[in-house]
């Protein structure tokens, strides 16, 4: 058996170009994922293990060793779990997992066109911080004149 993770169904998401917004309406909790964390989140549409996610990271970015990618993916998953954004499940070790385990130890430099790796980052913000980041202009149209 291995541990896999999947998204909580109640979490809302807004994928933007470089980041993804996650929002838990029940807890009014807002979280901004950087590109790498967003990539992990996208993979979690179906249950995935840290090992499988590490492999996925290595396929999609350059300059990271598998060992580091798995470690970072696991760390991000733990953070997401502590924020109740993913749930943990036990699952029999699959063929895919075995393949992932047998993946090359580093894929760094394999594809130079890929974006350079940056560790996954989750930024939790309260309402004030969200307002400060987005700086949405408050508009009151002239609806009378």
């Amino acid at each position: 058996m291995s541990l896999v993770y999947r998204r909580c169904a109640t979490i809302e998401m807004a994928p933007l170009q470089d980041e993804t917004i996650l929002f838990d309406p029940q807890k009014n909790q807002f979280c901004l994922l950087n590109r790498t964390a967003a990539l992990l989140w996208n993979q979690l549409a179906t249950p995935a293990s840290p090992q499988a996610l590490g492999v996925k990271l290595c396929e999609n970015v350059s300059g990271v060793a598998l060992e580091d990618a798995v470690r970072d993916a696991n760390s991000a998953l733990q953070e997401m779990r502590s924020l109740d954004m993913v749930v943990e499940e036990s699952q029999p070790v699959s063929e895919q997992e075995n393949k992932a385990a047998a993946a090359p130890q580093t894929i760094a430099g394999q594809a130079t066109q890929l974006p350079v790796y940056e560790p996954p980052r989750l930024t939790v913000m309260d309402d004030k911080q969200v307002m400060s980041v987005f700086q949405v202009p408050v508009v009151a149209g002239s609806w009378w004149g």
């Binding site: 807004a14 987005f134 949405v136 149209g141």
Partner: protein, 378 residues
């Protein structure tokens, strides 16, 4: 002319609030609002005496003894006029009752709604750039709103009761407050400062700063018989991101317009108004000006952010980034009283689900044609 209102001398020939000269009572009206309130009826408003407007899903009743406000509201929002709502529909909306007493220094506005809001806080949030400030000289239980640098309030409120300074231009403020209140109640809707049309059944939002050409482009598209949803405010149903009509009377600027729009302006006489920014505009009901451009809810598929004018129109497709969310300019009522994070997520979700373009407008007809071409291409 000088009258006497409960001991407060009222000079109606003077020009400002300072014209209320104190006599036997040392306090001006806003410091003794209860005295003034006694002059107004405390009977509940009658639902049947109001004009009812349906603003998407909720009703707004305007029961005004001030004819200017009632007529102006009726002119601008004529397309929202609705048959008399059922009592339950009416009580789920907002009823704005305005009482006027001759010679009184203030009018009484009473809002009836399912839940109360703080009028002073609401207005401060709605109009952050107008220099409004809360003044400390209100009577117990009341709150007063004034303008920076002026010692007298133009409004004093307690709960749902608002006393407005009769000599100030209070109508726009109250009308805006009532409108925003009804919009704010509709948490399932997002409101934006944008024009909106539908091309081939696909909702198109035209966002941009004031003067960017939103109205001109939306009218140019509507003149091609595309559905017209509004030129000032766009309403989008959250969740399914469906554009819904919000058709206030359109204002057409003097200046370049699509030939079909020019033709319509020539063939019929419309009221012209000079706006506070000095521009002269023709005012017309969308259903009269653009009879073929009716509208019914459509899925939002496209957002064009209008940028600077160029000799020839051009458009650039882009994937929205975090900082682009602010370009949509959601109205303050969309956020008020709700967790900001949840609303901004809705806005970001909306933006990430549509095709986004930066649009550099050229001649209105060319720009409209380009928008049509882009929408048709997918």
């Amino acid at each position: 002319m000088v009258g006497l209102v409960r001991g407060v001398r009222f000079d109606s020939d003077a020009t400002g609030p300072s014209a209320y000269l104190e006599s036997s009572v040392p306090c001006p009206w806003w410091q003794q609002p209860a005295e003034l309130l006694a002059r107004f009826s405390d009977q509940p408003a009658k639902l049947c005496s109001a004009d009812w407007y349906r603003l998407v899903d909720r009703f707004l009743g305007i029961d005004s003894e001030d004819r200017t406000l009632r007529q102006r509201f009726g002119m601008l929002y004529s397309e929202f006029l609705a048959p008399f709502p059922s009592p339950s529909e009416a009580t789920e909306g907002v009823l704005c009752r305005i009482q006027v007493r001759e010679g009184a220094p203030a009018h009484l506005v009473t809002f009836t709604a399912p839940s109360e809001i703080s009028i002073v806080d609401f207005m401060l949030a709605l109009f952050p750039g107008r220099g409004y400030v809360e003044l400390n000289q209100a009577a117990d239980g009341w709150r007063s709103l004034g303008v920076v640098g002026q010692p007298f309030p133009f409004l004093t409120a307690r709960g749902s009761q608002v006393l407005v300074e009769a000599r100030e231009a209070w109508q726009p403020l109250i009308a805006n407050c009532a409108l925003n209140w009804v919009m704010q109640m509709q948490s399932e809707l997002l409101f934006f400062h944008a024009a909106a049309v539908a091309v081939r059944g696909q909702g198109v939002l035209l966002a941009g700063e004031k003067g960017a050409g939103k109205s001109t482009l939306s009218l140019a598209l509507a003149a091609q018989d595309h559905e017209f949803f509004g030129d000032e405010i766009a309403a989008v149903r959250a969740g399914k991101f469906e554009l819904t009509p919000f058709r206030r009377a359109v204002s057409v600027r003097s200046g370049p317009q699509a030939p079909r729009v020019q033709e319509k302006l020539k063939n019929k006489s419309f009221v012209t108004e000079t706006f506070p920014d000095g521009t002269v505009r023709s005012r017309a009901l969308a259903r009269e000006f653009l009879p073929a451009a009716g509208a019914s809810p459509r899925p939002l598929r496209w957002v064009f952010f209008l940028r600077g004018f160029e000799p020839r129109p051009r458009a650039e497709s882009f994937h929205p980034r975090l900082e682009d969310v602010r370009l949509l300019a959601p109205l303050a009522c969309t956020f008020w009283g709700r967790p900001f994070a949840g609303r901004i997520t809705e806005v970001a979700k909306m933006l990430s689900s549509v095709n986004c373009y930066f649009l550099y407008p050229g001649r209105p007809e060319d720009t409209a044609e380009m928008v049509e071409r882009i929408v048709r291409s997918k």
